[in-house]
Subunit: 405 residues, 2 copies
């Protein structure tokens, strides 16, 4: 499928003047996940997911814009890079600028000026990783803001209310994300809580669809730490509740890579094949291949952007730390094979200088480069599925990417 | 003159493969300052200045890129904004990444990837404002780096050597920039030193033109604090040495606005009319009008970019502090009359959120806006000179810009 074919058929539907007819059309199509092609020798698949703000081609990498902005990058740049959907975070947006403000702005797309699909994470992960003085009970979590110490409570219902007001195309159930490592008993109780909360999320979501609803999709999240039986129980019970898409949460939190692969192998076969599968918080380039091979369609990860801001560039021949002294007199581009704005216009030497001088452009250039790399990588992945050469393409990628290790 | 006519006819000359013929052509034209139109009722004039990397239309505002980068902005963005020349600083570039490195990269344009004209300040101002443990003598200044405390000496000869290796189109004499306020005797001695150094700068410059010289222009600088007779002596003696352009330095350092105007009135009439006049470190929008009226052609100032990074936006109706709480729920653009990328794509409310969340995009958006404002302002200034309505246009600008004060 060509990029130019990816229109945003329901772009108009995001305005508040949406007509009844447009909304009905939206309802009919939003959430449709079409599998266009399946790999012959693994679980990789090529698809499209319809959202109220347009079609997403899968497998897809979603750049992370935690606070309603992909750090240092403009919307125009994201579109030019080929980003089809970006992520934001309900916990962060709820605390600042606040749900009411975003709602008054006409929802998150209007507020940030982004015309393509968006996804918000529920804030579950952030409540457990960022907020302080957490008190967890069956009803939800009481916590203090990491910004100003103010007291808040997130329940499954509250998280959905917040996400409905923020108004992203895809929203996530509020879950408890267990730490790693995690004892079996704790992981089991935590998974059980997440499943019960998923049920409450769905009930609240269905009952409280706002009048202006334009086809928001609520995804369920599978938990269970690194225990196959817990993952499988979580998958079965979450699928029973029923969602238009399923995420696998609580991975890439410190466990070895083969544990992640094992969890995917235990879980994905239990998810409906005809629904999109989203691996949360993953991944690095190598993770993408491993997970697509095991049936994953959607990814998000802060590392391409965060590592870029720390001077690390991804290339087909592995990672390069541009801020290292060794690149001070290297007048070639970051990646000679790359066609991104940073590689077309600037040298390693100059970007090294920008990092040493703590100049803002340094952060931008490597963020642009790494996002371009990831988006281009997913293009390669999709094309390889289309031509049924995924396993071959994966091998080729690994032999280039890890050649220096 | 239309923007599209402003080609960079000698763009090729910046590559190291420049042919003899191309260099000769460059020599013939570089430095030519054409006055296209003079105001009937003041000293404002419209002109073009030829440099090795293209033509600059004057009056011109030069965005400041101290460390070889206009903070947070890409070269493509600067071109799109209509910037015709940018500034960098010999003191900063000498300390980091170092003159040899820039020279090895093929000069500053190649190093930073900027294809249009550039100007470097000599570092005089920075040695006196940033460096520590300065020891001034007749020969030059010994100082310690503000970065790592290392010891260095800048003499007029050294500054020109550094600027020749950096290779900007326009370079500046090494001067002593007197502080403000400044006693008459000190100002007089300091001005005398600057004139003597200007003589040495010119001699070194002429004797040491590198083989690859492609028509670098060395400008003289008038000093003399706020004393008309000292300014006039400085102007007479500097003009006697002879330069292709004259700058007025040591203003906008804290003196009242009417003192600045008085110094321009005392100085500009003594400068050759047929050479460009550059008012260094100025200015704010209102300063531009006052100085153009008094015969100034070139400006640079960090305030549009620095104030942008601090949340302040320039508009035709005055300055607006977007990071103020009052703009939190203001869903309109920064300036409804503006067509810059920030105003076209983002709301005051969102930019306010970005500032409160300390997001990098905030700095970029208001920097883009303020640079667009300044470049557009100079367009208005130039058009008003062309149609001989400068004084009228100035009045219109002031009545809009200061309406809320």
């Amino acid at each position: 499928m060509m990029k130019s074919e990816i229109a945003a058929p329901f772009g108009l539907a995001m305005t508040t003047t949406t007509s009844k007819h447009q909304r009905d059309t939206t309802f009919m199509t939003v959430g449709t996940f079409k599998i266009l092609k399946k790999s012959g020798d693994c679980k990789a698949r090529l698809g499209t997911l319809e959202t109220a703000n347009g079609t997403i081609r899968t497998p897809v990498f979603m750049p992370v814009g935690t606070q309603g902005t992909v750090k240092s990058i403009s919307n125009d740049e994201l579109v030019a890079l080929g980003a089809e959907i970006i992520l934001s975070n309900a916990y962060h947006l709820y605390l600042r600028p606040g749900t009411e403000l975003i709602s008054a702005a006409g929802g998150i797309n209007n507020f940030i000026g982004w015309k393509k699909p968006m996804l918000t994470d529920s804030g579950g992960f952030q409540v457990f990783s960022l907020a302080t003085l957490r008190r967890l009970n069956a009803d939800g979590v009481e916590f203090r803001s990491h910004i100003d110490g103010s007291k808040h409570t997130f329940t499954p219902e509250k998280s959905i209310e917040v996400q409905q007001k923020i108004g992203a195309d895809i929203i996530m159930c509020f879950d408890e994300c267990a730490p790693y490592p995690c004892a079996y008993d704790y992981a089991g109780r935590s998974m059980d809580t997440s499943v019960k909360w998923a049920q409450r999320c769905k009930e609240y979501f269905e009952k409280n669809k706002p009048v202006s609803e334009r086809g928001q999709l609520l995804f369920g999240i599978i938990q269970g730490s690194v225990y196959s039986d817990l993952r499988q129980e979580s998958a079965r019970r979450t699928v029973e509740i029923g969602f238009p898409g399923y995420a696998i949460g609580g991975l890439s939190v410190g466990e070895p890579k083969d544990e992640m692969a094992a969890m995917l192998e235990a879980t994905v076969p239990l998810l409906p094949e005809e629904k999109p599968h989203y691996l949360m918080g993953v991944g690095m380039p190598e993770d993408i291949w491993e997970a697509v091979e095991r049936g994953i369609d959607m990814f998000d990860c802060v590392l391409p952007t965060r590592n870029g801001r720390n001077g690390q560039a991804f290339t087909m021949r592995g990672k390069v730390n541009i801020s290292n002294a060794g690149y001070q007199r290297d007048f070639g581009p970051v990646d000679p094979e790359c066609n991104c704005p940073a590689c077309r216009g600037y040298s390693r030497s100059y970007i090294n200088h920008l990092f040493r001088s703590q100049e803002l452009l340094a952060l931008r250039l490597l963020t642009l480069h790494n996002l371009y790399f990831m988006i281009n990588l997913l293009d390669i992945v999709r094309k390889s599925i289309e031509s049924d050469t995924f396993i071959e393409a994966k091998k080729r990628f690994f032999s280039g990417y890890f050649q220096h290790e």
